[in-house]
């Protein structure tokens, strides 16, 4: 179920009321999570997810032995690779043909697989390392892996962060006091970001990437619009997920910290899709050597790991190029005089880098990405879409909103919310959420990260 729909709003309202009334809220959350996943997914998706839950639950008891940890990781990687990458990896080979025809023809990517597989791998590794407790019963493990606010598009949670919170709820000892208004503010902000901002930007971005920019200015504006579209879309979803989880007594990790205020590429990845970047750091980058070894080795690991981060987003060379691009830029920043850049200049260059790198991410294929990038640097274009200087004001306004958002998540804001934590404000926020969901959507724009 998409979060920006009226029926999900009703679903969550019912879940919230039942959760408040139930002595053991975790049962309500488990049933809600099951309904959530079953409601709009086919039998195949459910079978795959159930299989992943069962396998990881069982193997978690023996994962202290390295051999079984490797088996566990391998299983999860093979499942993800099969559903998401088999055609890309196997291509026209006989194995590629076999896995895309007959019984396997039109096997779609199960919803949320990229996220729950990564969460499962993190859990197994953390259990091995002793950083996370083993979940004792299958239904509790199912809730850990399938907790509905974060199931489809994250945040990717660690066992140490989520399991103790859920355990408290299984024992009937959920958090007594919550700042309800904070949860509602997050949900409201998320819906505004998605419905008002991201969905409004979508037609312009789709147009320019489909029909091509006519000149360099239009190309930069189009890329900038996409930068904000994907930010509002994904962070909007994340805000909603965190807000909803908060209301039912679970604190999820924040996934974004105003990434377009970053002053270096490294800082960008400390602010963008934080749970994915920390996952990459803890389970790929550091085990492969991290900051140890010679500079060439570190650079190779960095670029390779970022390439994998790109591949995680989808089976297309454009995503890999995007990831490698970021790895290269981070390496350049670390080992060249660029590392001395800071302040406004550092911000500007980071902004230009991220805008440029969004082009291969958004483009449907490498040729389209090359053509678009060529237009950005002033080569001739056959594109038709023109965005004028007026659009720059729009971009500036979006950047201003971004800055405002940074202020709105500060301590002073939380203190202000504590003062107004009253039914009047609840009604206002619920009303705004409801009206925004009532708006009929003439553009079918699912959350971008649902596709991964």
């Amino acid at each position: 179920m998409r979060f920006d729909t009226l029926h999900y709003f009703v679903f969550f309202a019912v879940v919230y009321v039942l959760w408040r009334l139930s002595p053991r809220g975790a049962f309500v959350l488990l049933i809600a999570s099951t309904i959530f996943y079953v409601a709009e997914n086919g039998n195949r998706d459910i079978a795959v997810f159930s299989g992943v839950i069962l396998f990881n639950y069982v193997i978690s008891f023996v994962v202290k032995k390295r051999f079984w940890l490797l088996i566990g990781i391998l299983f999860n990687v093979i499942v993800l690779a099969f559903f998401k990458y088999r055609q890309f990896l196997l291509g026209d080979t006989w194995l590629g043909d076999f896995t895309t025809t007959g019984l396997f023809h039109n096997v779609a990517i199960p919803l949320g697989i990229s996220f729950y597989i990564f969460q499962a791998i993190a859990y197994l590794v953390d259990v091995k390392r002793g950083h996370a407790p083993t979940v004792s019963s299958p239904h509790r493990f199912a809730l850990f892996l399938g907790f509905f606010p974060q199931l489809i598009a994250g945040p990717i949670m660690r066992g140490a962060q989520l399991i103790p919170q859920l355990a408290g709820q299984w024992r009937g000892r959920g958090p007594k006091r919550r700042l309800v208004i904070w949860g509602l503010v997050l949900i409201c902000a998320g819906i505004i970001k998605k419905v008002v901002l991201a969905d409004s930007l979508a037609p312009f971005v789709d147009d320019i990437f489909h029909n091509g920019p006519a000149n360099a200015l239009s190309a930069w504006i189009g890329a900038g619009l996409f930068a904000f579209q994907i930010y509002f879309d994904f962070s909007g979803y994340s805000d909603m997920a965190v807000g909803m989880a908060y209301l039912v007594g679970i604190r999820l990790l924040l996934n974004f910290r105003q990434p377009y205020l970053s002053r270096s590429p490294r800082e960008f990845w400390q602010r963008w899709h934080i749970t994915l970047s920390t996952w990459i750091r803890d389970y790929l980058y550091i085990p492969l050597g991290g900051n140890r070894g010679s500079a060439p080795r570190q650079i190779c690991v960095l670029i390779g790991v970022m390439g994998i981060a790109g591949l995680w987003h989808g089976a297309n060379w454009t995503f890999i190029i995007w990831g490698i691009g970021w790895g290269t830029v981070i390496a350049l920043w670390r080992w060249t005089p660029l590392r001395h850049l800071s302040g406004r200049l550092g911000w500007l260059i980071t902004m230009l880098i991220s805008t440029t790198l969004w082009v291969p991410f958004r483009a449907p294929n490498l040729d389209a990405a090359k053509s678009y990038l060529g237009t950005m640097v002033g080569f001739t274009s056959n594109g038709a879409v023109v965005y004028g200087f007026v659009s720059l004001f729009g971009l500036a306004a979006l950047l201003g909103l971004h800055r405002l958002e940074a202020m709105a998540k500060g301590r002073e804001f939380i203190l202000f919310l504590r003062r107004i934590n009253q039914p009047l404000w609840y009604g206002m926020l619920v009303g705004i959420i409801g009206w925004l969901l009532v708006m009929p959507k003439f553009v079918n724009a699912p959350f971008i990260y649902f596709r991964f």
Partner: protein, 391 residues
């Protein structure tokens, strides 16, 4: 506490009302969410007509600010009598002609006047969802009183019954529709006047709702949601990751072939004959030449393009028996711009190729229309239509 909560809901409603009004300011409506509404009122001829001298936003397919003239047409204001000596052409048709997706000056009817250097008035009589029976009633509603010298009827594939995609042309409880009586005679039924929707909007409560819609953006939100379905997203389901198989099946051509050449299905064929008879009657009663301009099929696939001459010959032969001239827009477009993909004249943004005429489409269509009008105008008219097409 409950009262506080309810008051909060009311405040939220007011904020949304204010917000939706702000998004209509300047050019914000081109991007931000708006509560679109096009003022309409019940009409005994065509079920529902646009309110004269009104305006609203259209946000499907492309965003435009739509203004309806003093006759409720998507056209500039017109007097009942044309200026002295002015040749006046009426253009009947459906949403392809009404063209709510673009502003009035961009419509091909408006551009045809420019192409003709204002030697003729071209009146946009188009109406969305206007299939054949509705077009005839549209003429009776407004066209007949406009002192028109010639009539061009644009027939698009969707509503010509051959396509059979929409059942509304058979359902006289929604719009006027051709019905066959026991003796086998066809006539237009206006049974919609007894339908609950029509009666509701004709009575006091319906008029009150319309007043609410005209003045409240929140009311429009609710109304639009009710029209599209409260649980619309639930019924639509999630997006699919499945690949789509590329095909080239010219559904429009196949249906048109069956109707015009093979004269099947029988009922659709009967409606078509009744429609052509009514066009003839219009021409005779008002002493105006009638030209049928077929906007589809577009001959999208190689197999339909090859059979286009045969198809057009059959259509010409059939319409000649009714003494109606017929022209084929797709063929005329290809004559004007031989290298163009005719499909590219339809659709907006990522949907180029599907949908209504876009800006280049209206431009080329205006040249097609102007060339037709030239043949209808008095022989001493000296005009050279512009044939340079952009893009």
């Amino acid at each position: 506490m409950f009262l506080q909560f309810v008051f909060g809901l009311l405040l939220a409603t007011l904020m949304i009302e204010a917000g939706l009004r702000i998004t209509e300011v300047g050019r914000l409506w081109k991007a931000l969410p708006i509560a679109n509404y096009l003022p309409t009122e019940p009409d005994p001829h065509i079920a529902f007509a646009h309110v004269p001298d009104s305006e609203g936003f259209w946000i499907n397919e492309n965003r435009s600010l739509v203004r309806f003239n003093n006759h409720g047409l998507h056209d500039r204001d017109r007097t009942a009598e044309p200026p002295a000596g002015m040749f006046r052409v009426g253009v009947l048709g459906d949403s392809m002609v009404e063209a709510l997706q673009v502003d009035q000056a961009t419509t091909f009817t408006a551009q045809a006047e420019v192409v003709l250097e204002e030697a003729a008035e071209v009146i946009n009589l188009g109406l969305s969802n206007a299939h054949q029976a509705v077009q005839i009633e549209r003429w009776r509603q407004v066209g007949a009183a406009m002192n028109i010298d010639a009539l061009v009827v644009v027939m698009s594939a969707v509503h010509d019954e051959g396509y059979s995609a929409y059942p509304i042309y058979r359902d006289d409880t929604v719009l006027p529709a051709y019905r066959q009586d026991d003796a086998g005679e066809w006539s237009i039924s206006t049974k919609f006047t007894s339908s609950p929707d029509y009666r509701f909007f004709s009575n006091r409560l319906g008029r009150l709702l319309v007043v609410g819609l005209e003045h409240s953006r929140v009311a429009r939100l609710v109304f639009n949601r009710w029209k599209t379905g409260l649980w619309r997203e639930w019924r639509q389901g999630g997006g699919s990751n499945l690949p789509t198989e590329p095909t080239c099946k010219d559904i429009s051509f196949d249906a048109q072939w069956r109707l015009w050449v093979q004269e099947v299905p029988n009922l659709a064929n009967g409606r078509l004959n009744a429609y052509l008879n009514d066009l003839v009657e219009i021409g005779q009663t008002h002493n105006v030449p009638v030209v049928l301009l077929m906007l589809g099929p577009l001959y999208d696939c190689p197999y339909s393009l090859i059979r286009a001459p045969e198809f057009e010959s059959a259509v010409i032969a059939r319409t000649r028996s009714y003494d109606i001239d017929v022209r084929f827009a797709a063929t005329e477009m290809r004559n004007i711009k031989p290298t163009a993909d005719v499909r590219a004249f339809f659709g907006f943004g990522v949907d180029i190729g599907n949908g209504h005429l876009n800006t280049p489409g209206h431009k080329i269509m205006s040249t097609v229309l102007a060339s037709i009008i030239l043949t209808l105008m008095p022989q001493n008219t000296q005009i050279q239509p512009e044939t340079e097409i952009e893009g």
